[in-house]
Amino acid sequence: MNEPRTLLSIDGVSKNFGRVTAVDRVSLDIRENEFFALLGPSGCGKTTLLRMLAGFETPSEGRIMLDGRDIARTPPNKRPVNLMFQSYALFPHMSVRANVSYGLEMERLPAREIRDRVDSILATTELVPFADRKPEQLSGGQKQRVALARALVKRPRLLLLDEPLGALDKKLRGAMQLELKRLQHEVGITFVIVTHDQEESLVMADRMAVLRGGRLLQCDTPHTVYEHPADRFVADFIGVMNFVPGHLDNGGVRAADGTRLEGRGTATPVGAGTSGATGAGVAAVRPERIRLFPPPQAANRTTGKVEALAYQGQDLQLHVRTALSDRPFLVRVTADAADRRPVSVGDQVELGWDAADVRIFAD
């Protein structure tokens, strides 16, 4: 397989609003035809970055190269990029068809071509029965599809989506995640989605960038970001993580009670200079990597008391109080395993996990 082509290159982009730095020297590449997610808590700069890609903000510094051309200063109506707004921003005085046609009318295309392309995108987004309705007569999911159709019909090089599923209820959101991915595959357009929902980006994105305080923390595939988070914030923000605070000790962490937690043998602690680093650090392990009744070869083990049980259908979440940290350990057990060896609140249990499943971060 050959290397996918870079479509958009964000090169050292910063944005200041007065004394506030919303985006701080971010550089990342977005590849042709990928589904890319910009993820971070609110105020992390992801929306400002998106608005710079759309042309509503001009970077204070840096370049935005699209197909090798710097578009940082190109006005929004002159760049082959379209944005699907979080509020959808459908024109309330126009029908669905008129909303979708608008962008093509601006390109001064022949009426016939406009009609054909609008018909085709309305069919793709299953909006044909609603073509003559006004936005106020549509449900949230239908409005979302109109907003999508209106942007897609322009056949942009890059489609930006600002929290596209934010306004939908949870069940519909799950369905639309898969729907968006299917559509993206079908139309062959590069999607950049902004979201604060880490689960959403894990499900949908081919690659994702995690931002915090205007800085890029990590840019990689969801799998790598989840399994090999670049720092403690990313580890905490993506999914659920158990942290054991302590002191760095030769590739591991010595917890407050003296227990030594073994990290990956070859790894240097993330954020520390050398493997011989000392000082405060944390060991991190995912709940699904912890085993109840561990086999003898598990490098890390501890005992604790089950404080709470949360049944979640396909699996069971345990809160286990240990001597390792102040916070209870979260342990996820499959329903199957829980059926074979039931545990109940108050039980004393043994926990164990492999060194390879531990990430060590310097504090």
Binding site: P76, N77, N82, A89, D132, Q137
Partner: protein, 280 residues
């Protein structure tokens, strides 16, 4: 509901009915009213002499309306584009003249426009040496006075829909390839037309019946329909004809208001009809 109806009847319907009744009688020989039924007062209203004054009044009110809408919309647009916390301040200043007396506000224009007034002085200061221009007691002065007095109505009427407009709509239009001008014409303007219509009707209705501004700024030579009514009642002592003129004026105002109501109703009706059609 009932007390409101009583008030409305006592203070609006009865006086109007009395004036309407007056219009069907003859004028007494020495003033006063001769209570014999006639339609000749209404015949006189459509006489070219008086119909001409109606037309002139409509033209002046129409011109004032157009100018007030253009200036008022621009001002409302600028205010709605200002930072949120400054908007109430700008609105306050836009409406401030409204809190002074109408007569005083109109007199101020005499100070501005008379032969040695501020405008002439400004022209002199700029190097103009010729005869002072005659600005006071012209149709232009009347229009300026009307525009000035009713501008706050337009600003307030246009500000409401402009400030409620989701700014992302304009951004969406730009994003889809529209220029700033096209965005204004196809998105912002259509969505704020109700405010423009409300402001315009206000200015037109208040202007066409106005008699203070033409009396002060138009001089004696200048008559609008309001002055004519005023003269019939207070100078010519022809109350029946004055009543007929007043009724004709009220009829014009009602027509304008009804046209606006129908326009607003049709917009609402279209939406309702579309809902029914889509479900059926």
């Amino acid at each position: 509901m009932a007390p409101a109806l009583v008030w409305l009847t006592a203070l609006m319907v009865v006086p109007c009915a009395l004036v309407l009744a007056l219009a069907f009688f003859r004028r007494g020989i020495y003033g006063g009213i001769d209570y014999t039924f006639t339609l000749e007062n209404f015949g006189l209203v459509v006489d070219p002499l008086y119909a001409g004054i109606f037309l002139k009044s409509a033209r002046i009110a129409g011109t004032a309306t157009i100018i007030a809408v253009v200036i008022g919309y621009a001002a409302a647009y600028a205010i709605s584009a200002a930072p949120r916390r400054l908007q109430p301040v700008f609105l306050f200043f836009a409406v401030l003249p409204f809190w002074s007396n109408y007569l005083i506000r109109t007199y101020a224009w005499i100070v501005l426009l008379n032969r040695e007034g501020l405008v002439t002085q400004l022209l002199r200061w700029l190097g103009y040496t010729g005869e002072p221009p005659s600005m006071l007691y012209t149709e232009g002065a009347v229009i300026a006075g009307l525009v000035y007095n009713y501008l706050p109505f337009v600003i307030l009427a246009c500000y409401a829909p402009l400030s409620r407009l989701n700014p992302e709509l304009a951004e969406a239009s730009r994003d889809l390839g529209a220029s700033a001008a096209t965005t204004f014409r196809r998105v912002i303007l259509p969505l704020t037309v109700p405010g423009i219509a409300a402001g315009a009707v206000f200015v037109f209705v208040l202007s066409i019946g106005n008699f203070v501004t033409p009396a002060l700024l138009g001089g004696g030579r200048f008559q609008m329909i309001g002055n004519l009514v005023y003269d019939q009642f207070l100078t010519a002592n022809d109350w029946p004809f004055g009543a007929a003129l007043a009724m004709a004026l009220i009829a014009i105002m009602l027509l304008v208001l009804m046209a606006q109501a129908m326009f607003a109703d049709r917009a609402a009706g279209r939406a309702a009809e579309a809902t029914g059609g889509a479900d059926g």
